[in-house]
């Protein structure tokens, strides 16, 4: 299949892995930012093909994982209301909110089982269509994600405004990648020496948007895609820069990413959203790291419309997801991994989402990862 087979080609993968082996003369630690990349690395076993000098650590780029538990609680409260049709992307349905007095944590699937009208949609425009078709119901869309999903969500809000739909609203938890990466790179514990930037975020924001990170933190940033050949090409370019002492932005995903990105999509985002401070699950509050609806669109803000309050929710003390999301621990370092924390009974979001690092380890190497438990992450001693 075109655009797929050539990027999964076994010979090309082996050639790239060999080239990485030749290029790396000492240990390097590289973070892939996006959860989709983490998922592909484990699904295709790419980390097993890398020489022992190279350590890949998994970044915070899973939108499901970083959505704060307070927002999940608000979603659960809104979805449980009579008359509401609550629309979400599929992978949010299993993310647990905070625990009640009985120690249980609900999720959207449980709300649906208890009678809430929770629907999986594939596009925010499907939620707008539902609002149009059900004028007597309140239709709420759970607008989460990075710069990748923000333009389409902005489009949905703009369309609803144009049509004068008074029964449509968005529960917004949008986050932005660069501030989170800067926070991670600025931490004194940070071991990341190079970055694989998320290709689809850059498709919107442009490769150029990575330049401030490369310059401020003196790290190479390679804009990277999601297939095996893309990922290994990204690693190779990153290592060549590290070995040569360079810290530049390089575009290894030119088939999708232009230097200037997609200005049209960004204009849409900027019309509807403005930058705000946001809490990230596991990372805490990061200034200017999120998006909220502009005041002109305040009528479409589900938090305002439903006036839901979520009490300050705590994470289970045992869950290491904050450290995992910062790349400071591997999922398998967590004592709860695969024992007290599994996809059916997750302690934290990275075990829930298909793109979460913990779920990826659990799913793609059940027996290995359970044997690996207890190892800590040291530079160059990944395996």
């Amino acid at each position: 299949m075109k655009y797929l087979d050539e990027y999964r080609d076994a010979d090309a993968v082996r050639r790239l892995a060999a080239a990485i082996g030749r290029a790396a003369t000492r240990p390097w630690t590289i973070m892939e930012i996006c959860g989709g990349q983490t998922h592909a690395i484990l699904r295709f076993g790419l980390d097993e093909l890398l020489p022992p000098e190279i350590t890949l650590i998994h970044g915070p780029g899973c939108p499901v994982c970083v959505t704060p538990v307070e927002l999940i609680d608000k979603a659960l409260a809104i979805a449980a209301r009579p008359g509401v049709i609550f629309c979400s992307f599929g992978d949010m349905l299993r993310v647990p909110g905070s625990r009640g007095a009985d120690g249980r944590a609900a999720d959207l699937m449980a709300v649906r089982a208890a009678g809430g009208d929770v629907r999986v949609v594939y596009s925010p425009l499907d939620a707008v269509a539902l609002a149009r078709a059900n004028p007597s119901r309140e239709v709420v869309f759970f607008a989460i994600g990075f710069e990748t999903t923000a333009p389409a969500n902005a489009l949905a809000a703009a369309l609803a405004a144009r049509e004068g739909l008074v029964n449509f609203s968005l529960l917004v938890s949008h986050v932005l990648v660069p501030p989170a990466i800067s926070a991670i790179l600025g931490s004194p514990d940070c071991r990341v020496q190079g970055l694989l930037a998320a290709g689809h975020v850059c498709a919107v924001m442009g490769a150029a948007a990575c330049r401030p990170i490369a310059e401020r933190h003196r790290v190479p940033v390679v804009v990277t895609g999601f297939e095996p050949v893309d990922l290994l090409d990204g690693v190779l370019r990153c290592i060549r820069q590290l070995e040569a002492g360079r810290a530049e932005v390089e575009n290894a995903y030119a088939r999708a990413v232009a230097d200037e990105g997609n200005p049209h999509a960004r204009r849409r985002m900027e019309e509807v959203f403005e930058v705000c401070d946001r809490s990230w699950r596991g990372l805490g509050r990061i200034p200017r790291s999120g998006l909220r609806l502009r005041s002109a669109y305040a009528a479409f803000d589900a938090e305002r419309r439903f006036g839901v309050e979520a009490p300050g929710a705590g994470e289970p003390a045992e869950c290491l997801s904050g450290l995992v999301l910062q790349g400071l621990r591997r999922p398998t370092d967590c004592p709860a991994f695969a024992t007290r924390c599994t996809p059916e009974c997750p302690l934290g979001a990275p075990m829930v989402s298909a793109e979460g690092a913990c779920a990826a380890y659990f799913r793609y190497r059940p027996s290995h990862s359970r044997q690996d438990r207890g190892t800590t992450l040291k530079r160059g001693a990944a395996r």
């Binding site: 797929l4 999964r8 992307f89 299993r94 990075f146 689809h200 290995h368």
Partner: protein, 343 residues
């Protein structure tokens, strides 16, 4: 896998309990199997093998709740006949008799019911089974989804040796009867809300013919499994976990048509876990694999049969997917339904 902390032990039934993944397994293991515990149930096969005098009978049941009722390549009636016929065939049986229970929703168009019944008649005729007893109930509008159908089936086991997970041996070959994922993707694209078109049709088909041919050709089948809910992966994992044998599967040997691959990539789904309604696994000694492939190739519904892997050992109960890139990955059950991912 058990969870010692009951925090996500749901106190209500979720859709995911019917997804064929770990939640389904847990429901069976914790609720149904302890309640009805007996030797026949414990074999965990697609149907029960009953001894009745000199005869050996296969007995099975299944319920059908598909939406939409009509989809490219089939409808709920054809599914209800083929699904039960296939469960009987997987026991090495010649399907003979079916029962049908209809739960109809108030307001259902009689024309739709007529189409479904006509489709069942044709499917039963194709599979050479008779529908010999039936029941009809009507529920209030809003309490059903048009039509639900339950069918049960009886067949005569004609295979000489027992067919089932317990007969699988290290060294056996694993054959797959054709390309995977058509049914699941067809249903997804036929549902509301997924606005893309595909040329796909469901693979829904009766599978008794290739099974009877394999038996007639004297091939020593160890295990058969039709790959419905949970797809190829769940079929393999369930056999591995029931018996403790390990599978090694060659990723590139698994046939998947481009339309299924493309839709799966777009939706973030893994085709190995997508449902089929006319595909099955044959596990038998390696020395008989070529002959079995030749037999399968003569049957229309198994024309695409191929060898996808082997049984490597007994002990861990793991299903390992090997790629040409030289990497390996362990297949594990999903928690519940596959959820389309966000981006």
């Amino acid at each position: 896998m058990t969870c010692p902390v009951p925090n996500q032990d749901y106190d209500r039934i979720l859709l995911a309990h019917g997804g064929g993944g770990r939640l389904t397994q847990r429901l069976l293991d914790r609720l149904f199997r302890p309640a009805f515990d007996n030797e026949l149930l414990a074999t965990r096969h697609d149907g029960a093998a009953l001894a009745l005098g000199a005869d050996r009978l296969a007995f099975t049941t299944d319920s059908y709740v598909v939406r939409p009722l009509f989809f490219p390549g089939g409808d709920i009636g054809r599914l209800a006949v083929c699904g039960t016929v296939n469960d009987l065939a997987m026991c090495g049986a010649r399907p003979l008799w079916l029962s049908a229970g209809f739960i109809l929703e108030e307001g259902l168009a009689v024309d739709d019911l007529r189409r479904v019944v006509e489709s069942m008649r044709r499917a039963a005729s194709d599979a050479r089974v008779q529908l010999v007893t039936a029941d009809t109930k009507v529920v209030e509008r809003g309490k059903g989804d048009g039509i639900y159908i339950n069918t049960a089936g009886l067949g005569r086991i004609i295979a000489r040796e027992p067919i089932g997970p317990a007969s699988v041996r290290p060294g056996d070959a694993v054959l797959l009867s054709g390309d995977i994922g058509r049914h699941g993707i067809t249903i997804m694209t036929a549902r509301d809300g997924l606005a893309f078109e595909s040329p796909l049709e469901s693979d829904c088909a009766p599978l008794h013919e290739p099974v009877l041919e394999l038996i007639a050709d004297g091939l020593p089948i160890h295990c058969l499994r039709d790959l419905t809910r949970g797809g190829l992966a769940a079929g393999l994992i369930e056999i591995a976990q029931t018996t403790g044998v390990d599978f090694e599967i060659d990723e590139e040997a698994i046939p998947i048509v481009d339309a299924v691959r493309g839709a799966s990539e777009l939706l973030g789904l893994d085709p190995l876990y997508i449902a089929n309604e006319g595909r099955f696994l044959v596990i038998l000694p390696e020395r008989d694999a070529d002959a079995a492939l030749a037999t399968l190739g003569r049957c229309d519904v198994a024309r695409g049969a191929c060898r996808i892997g082997r049984v490597t050992g007994a002990g861990r109960g793991e299903t390992i997917l090997r790629s040409r890139r030289g990497t390996r990955r362990v297949l594990d059950l999903f928690s519940g339904e596959q959820l389309p991912r966000i981006c």
